[in-house]
Symmetry: C2
Subunit: 400 residues, 2 copies
Amino acid sequence: MAPEKPVVAVTCTAPVNIAVIKYWGKRDEDLVLPINSSLSVTLHQDQLKTTTTAAISKDFTEDRIWLNGREEDVEQPRLQACLREIRRLARKRRSAGDEDPAALGLSYKVHVASVNNFPTAAGLASSAAGYACLAYTLAQVYGVESDLSEVARRGSGSACRSLYGGFVEWQMGERADGKDSIARQVAPESHWPELRVLILVVSAEKKLTGSTAGMRTSVETSPLLRFRAESVVPARMAEMARCVRERDFPGFAQLTMKDSNQFHATCLDTFPPISYLSDTSRRVVHLVHRFNAHHGQTKVAYTFDAGPNAVVFALHDTVPEFVAAVRHCFPPESNGDKFLKGLPVPPVPLSDELKAVLDVDPTPGGVKYIIATQVGPGPQILEDPHAHLLGPDGLPKPAA
Amino acid sequence: MAPEKPVVAVTCTAPVNIAVIKYWGKRDEDLVLPINSSLSVTLHQDQLKTTTTAAISKDFTEDRIWLNGREEDVEQPRLQACLREIRRLARKRRSAGDEDPAALGLSYKVHVASVNNFPTAAGLASSAAGYACLAYTLAQVYGVESDLSEVARRGSGSACRSLYGGFVEWQMGERADGKDSIARQVAPESHWPELRVLILVVSAEKKLTGSTAGMRTSVETSPLLRFRAESVVPARMAEMARCVRERDFPGFAQLTMKDSNQFHATCLDTFPPISYLSDTSRRVVHLVHRFNAHHGQTKVAYTFDAGPNAVVFALHDTVPEFVAAVRHCFPPESNGDKFLKGLPVPPVPLSDELKAVLDVDPTPGGVKYIIATQVGPGPQILEDPHAHLLGPDGLPKPAA
């Protein structure tokens, strides 16, 4: 006779985050411990999220994982580290005498299915949302309630920052075992409601240096990176937290740009050098500085991760004019019908003065599209069983 | 009755130099004193040089200057500083009792004409050769025999390195008055006869940040630049001098690339950031690293100044294959007839293995042309009176 509940399944979502004080470089490769603290903004899941279902069953004969519908190798080390760590936490809890029924699943194999609601081809860092979602979902399945920083971090360092909404810092910690290298919320998503985020998706060149290999080479070869981590970042962390707390947009914006530039400077100081910014990225940088100069104040900020896409911060009332400026400098190739995704942005005309100040040869198609979003909450549990990505048989449901 | 010799005219040439340990940033704007020492290679004047004629006459009523045939404002501060400094040195010498007839010209006005044998549009830094030539030529006219570092430096910092052939260091000095901030030869041009230099002239974008304004902003805003100047460059100067002395090409090449990268990193760490490298520059960087990886040793090095052109170092026997690799990655647009200028380079076929390793989408026209040259001597005096750019009337001769 079949058991009444052969499969325990939980589905959660987790957000993408974008660092405004950048993480680049590990002091411990195995434990994924960084050489400096970092601070990020959690983006809203209405626009960008990972959804993950984890299911355990005594009938499963092995751990299995499907990413965006395709089965992947479950043996890959970072995934194994997450699974090992969450099971260790679950065992610890059980041995503490807490006989949660979910803890019974500890001996069961797990099936995991995960999808992103944004195209991987967009070059948006999906590993942070992915591993945060994995950690959070597994924690529900196994009844783990402790801090999940380490579980997520073992998958991808910056994933620990996607465990919270709003503004999040990842404290580098000092301990060799990494127990104090944890993420914590600096301010909740409701703290700065006027803040908006625009992702300018740029036509990517192929063959970027992966961030894991890239940061390893940087740590080994860049004298500037060591100096940055030790002597520049600590004061910047404090200053960025202050800007967030006080909602000081010009301060926030300038420091965000400076820190992005310094991160890319250390990439260039790496040997062989690493270049993530393309000519289009540089045109966006130029556009932002011209835009701010025109207004006589810092109204827009850019930041770039390990790729050419720009993430732009602005307050709500600046967005329409800035989007118009982007359209002016990068005329959409597809008649503009899908140029703007996400939050609605009303069209406004661009003043002749601003056009003159921007002073660019337009680059048609340089920006493929814009995703307009805002600060958002941390991971969520989806209660609706229809949300499960795995069927009662523990296998991925056919795509709708 | 007209005087027998109404005009004293001297014509000299001076070379371009390319820094392998970069100068970026002044500690004294007026005296043009750098925040770190630098080291350069003097390029051969057969390919790149400035020619300058200076003439003095009691009949001249004002100082005048013509650059590439066009009269320029003689009141510009850097030019005035050079004139003031050379006259100060001449006066000093005269008051020392050295009654050289040339010293009589001290009260005379000077006419100067200067031309480059390379197109300004090529984006090759011409100010170093130009001010070195001015200083050297004026010194002949006024009979000045002391160190000309300060005269040249006041025109353009790196010009003091063009006062010598071969390998030249500009010692930053410590004195507030700059008297110990001088150029000196590390090794003569005959020291390393196998060394070759290729200038890859890249299609330039307009509107680069000028180096004077750029380095000022860098000094004011880049934390990484200060660290570089104080904590990285001193050891690199010693190491580079060793590589030159021992003709250690791999060491020379790697340090040259690292220092170019670090200079551009500090530009990117400047706020607003400065980007001199274009996508084509980055493709050249990639090509060089792939080429070296293919050979399992560092056979080629790049360096970039404040612009997108690459200057490449290689030993003589590496040049043909590297030029073939450049042709492969950047197919010449003009049927290649004028793609290669300067020293002859025999065509060689490119191996399929190397083609596969380069692994690029060719970028036609990305490199406009190559100038092949070598290490060369310092400034020269042209004895032939036909070489004068100024006629007996003290005005520029019509272009031939």
